[in-house]
């Protein structure tokens, strides 16, 4: 019965989605002439958007160029173009790549993989756990709910970086430091994720749907995993991305927790390059940073599809 219900629900969502897509298209194409944006407005909008794109992309472009340069070329050559001719470019790239691999002792790609594991696993666990808790506070009455929400929200005020030392003490005391879990566990708790989950659940999970499922005799766990999670998909993408990037960029936690070279995430390796005061090879660092960002970009492109698909089911509302 529940599966039937779920499929009805799925069909409903899909239909809704198609409708919304179609309407959007129609709205774009069939606007009455009076409502079509006027040419100057259109041009102005595009100029503004392109200027903004230049602002956001220029530093990355610069980093891209910088990643092909040696330390002295970085400071004495033209910042917006390669320091060597295009024919010599592969050599320049190879040189910095060698420097990067040298710095990271050949571990670079291993570290990227580690980062993927840390970010991926903690974001998945973190998202599910946060959405479950958010759903509970949005849709159930229980004693201590107000206090729990208060404590979780209050903890957002505490600077997380300073909790790293006590967290390390705890993991160290139970002998779990220098394991993958010592990075994953702290990273999968996000008060912000909990809050988003709660808001989303409140706004987009209709009570009627839950009631209907209960009347059909579906268990709570089943309702959650077959119906609620599906409705909350776009919300989960948002939380997932947030957790993923937050874990990816965290360096203080792995710095303290991990000592084995083969467990380190890529940011820690990069931070290791920066934190030696004597470090000057910034071109190779830029290359490392850009290569390290690649998986995040791929992930974003991949998730974009889901985002679009889930939009009709409702996202953050006021």
């Amino acid at each position: 019965m529940t599966s039937e219900l779920a499929s009805v629900d799925r069909r409903l969502i899909r239909a809704q989605q198609r409708k919304a897509d179609k309407m959007r298209e129609k709205a774009a194409n069939d606007l009455p002439p009076s409502l079509q944006p006027k040419k100057p407005v259109k041009v102005l909008t595009i100029i503004v958007l392109v200027l903004a794109a230049i602002y956001f992309m220029f530093p990355i472009y610069w980093a891209l160029i910088a990643s092909t340069k040696s330390p002295s070329q970085l400071t004495d050559s033209n910042g917006v173009w390669f320091a060597v001719g295009l024919d010599k470019l592969p050599d320049a790239i190879a040189a910095n790549y060698a420097t990067l691999l040298g710095w990271t002792k050949g571990y670079f790609w291993r570290w990227v993989l580690n980062s993927l594991i840390y970010s991926g696993v903690s974001a998945i666990i973190g998202t599910v756990v946060a959405v479950m808790a958010g759903y509970a506070t949005a849709k159930f009455q229980f004693r201590g709910k107000g206090v729990a929400i208060g404590i979780v929200m209050g903890s957002m005020l505490m600077p997380a970086a300073l909790l790293t030392i006590p967290q390390y003490s705890i993991f160290n005391a139970i002998g779990m430091d220098n394991t993958m879990l010592s990075v994953i566990i702290p990273c999968c708790v996000s008060p912000f994720g909990f809050f988003l989950g709660s808001v989303y659940a409140q706004n987009s999970v209709p009570d009627e749907l839950l009631e209907a499922a209960r009347i059909d005799g579906a268990g709570e766990a089943r309702i959650f995993f077959t119906i609620v999670l599906r409705i909350l998909a776009p919300a989960m993408v948002t939380i997932f991305l947030f957790l993923f990037v937050a874990t990816w960029n965290n360096f203080l936690l792995p710095l303290m927790m991990l000592s084995s070279t083969d467990l380190q995430p890529v940011t820690l390796g990069l931070y290791g390059m920066v934190s030696l005061a004597t470090f000057t090879d910034r071109g190779a660092l830029m290359m490392g940073a850009l290569l390290g960002v690649l998986p995040v970009i791929v992930l974003f492109l991949f998730l974009q599809r889901y985002w679009k698909a889930g939009l009709a089911a409702g996202a953050v509302k006021g």
Partner: protein, 320 residues
């Protein structure tokens, strides 16, 4: 929230089953909360309690003398660490800096993000997803690396931006004492605008299109739709983003820490977060986890006050 309560009450309708149903709901609620709560306990609650406990101690050498007896002991100092924090001019200067940041950078970033989201949602441009990716990319760059990039772009001898401006006779000094906070704010804005825009765009695109249709039939133009329908619908997301940015700003750390290499006048206590971490690391005195925890706690209290004040103001504005 009230809608939920109503349904709950409705469901509890018949009084004979009431307590049983209620107990079941309570059990289910906590069951869903449990995984998060357990993790939260380990990752937040215990460390926070530890920090509060630590804040009443200072680490001093046993035995005194020139080098001490070769070990440190935790000396209970009562509220001395807190007294140190609230009487420290360095701490309040740091708070002052992040407040300026909060007042200028946060609203600016939110407005820019909102404006970009509205433009992308305005049906004027075709390649929404392309722009969306471009704007979002800086968020994926680790904060430390972003700061390093910008430190180069601010450098008056190397930066192509400075060279470009100099062609027009402008000689910017991004590290001048009156500009350094603005330079820092720019790095934060660059990193986080795209992410905020993403959230706003998601909220905008979730607005049911029947609303637009209706408005058009009523003869509303694009601007009016933007002001009357779109803006009110992303308000919630915007206010939330604002609140989070305020809390995040109090904890400002990466940007000043990296900019310090280019500008030593950015002290180790430039922001409260830097002061806390550097106290913990030992490059400021009094040092150690005791004073560092006290700084963190006072910071958290101030952030809490700010967030509360913001919530109250927001509600007042909302009512009027």
């Amino acid at each position: 929230m009230s809608a939920t309560t109503q349904t709950a009450v409705k469901r509890r309708g018949s009084s004979t089953k009431r307590s049983k149903a209620f107990r079941r709901e309570e059990r289910t609620g906590w069951a869903f909360m449990a995984p998060f709560c357990i993790l939260f306990l380990v990752v937040f609650v215990i460390p926070i309690i530890w920090a509060i406990y630590q804040s009443f101690f200072q680490q001093v050498a046993t035995g005194g003398g020139a080098y001490g007896g070769g070990s440190l002991e935790n000396k209970f100092v009562g509220f001395a660490n807190f007294q140190y924090v609230v009487t420290s001019s360095a701490f309040w200067q740091g708070i002052g800096r992040v407040l300026i940041y909060t007042v200028i950078q946060v609203p600016l970033m939110i407005i820019v993000a909102l404006a970009l989201a509205m433009l992308l949602d305005s049906l004027i441009v075709k390649h929404v997803s392309g722009f969306r990716l471009l704007y979002f990319l800086p968020y994926a760059i680790p904060g430390v690396v972003a700061s390093i990039i910008w430190v180069f772009l601010y450098n008056d001898q190397i930066s192509p931006i400075v060279k470009f401006l100099e062609m027009f006779g402008v000689h910017p000094d991004f590290f001048a004492s009156n500009a350094v906070i603005a330079s820092m704010a720019n790095i934060t804005t660059w990193t986080f605008t795209g992410y905020n825009m993403l959230i706003f765009l998601a909220a905008l695109q979730a607005i049911p299109h029947e609303l637009y249709e209706a408005a058009r039939i009523d003869g509303a133009n694009g601007w009016q739709i933007a002001w009357r329908i779109k803006l009110p619908n992303v308000r919630g997301a915007a206010l939330l983003a604002m609140l989070l940015s305020i809390v995040g700003t109090i904890q400002l750390f990466n940007e000043p820490q990296v900019m310090q290499t280019a500008d030593p006048s950015i002290s180790d206590s430039f922001t409260p977060m830097m002061m806390a971490l550097n106290t913990s690391r030992g490059s400021l005195t009094p040092k150690g986890d005791g004073p560092a925890s006290a700084i963190a706690i006072v910071m958290a209290l101030i952030a809490g006050l700010l967030a509360a004040a913001y919530a109250i103001v927001e509600r007042k504005v909302n009512e009027s």
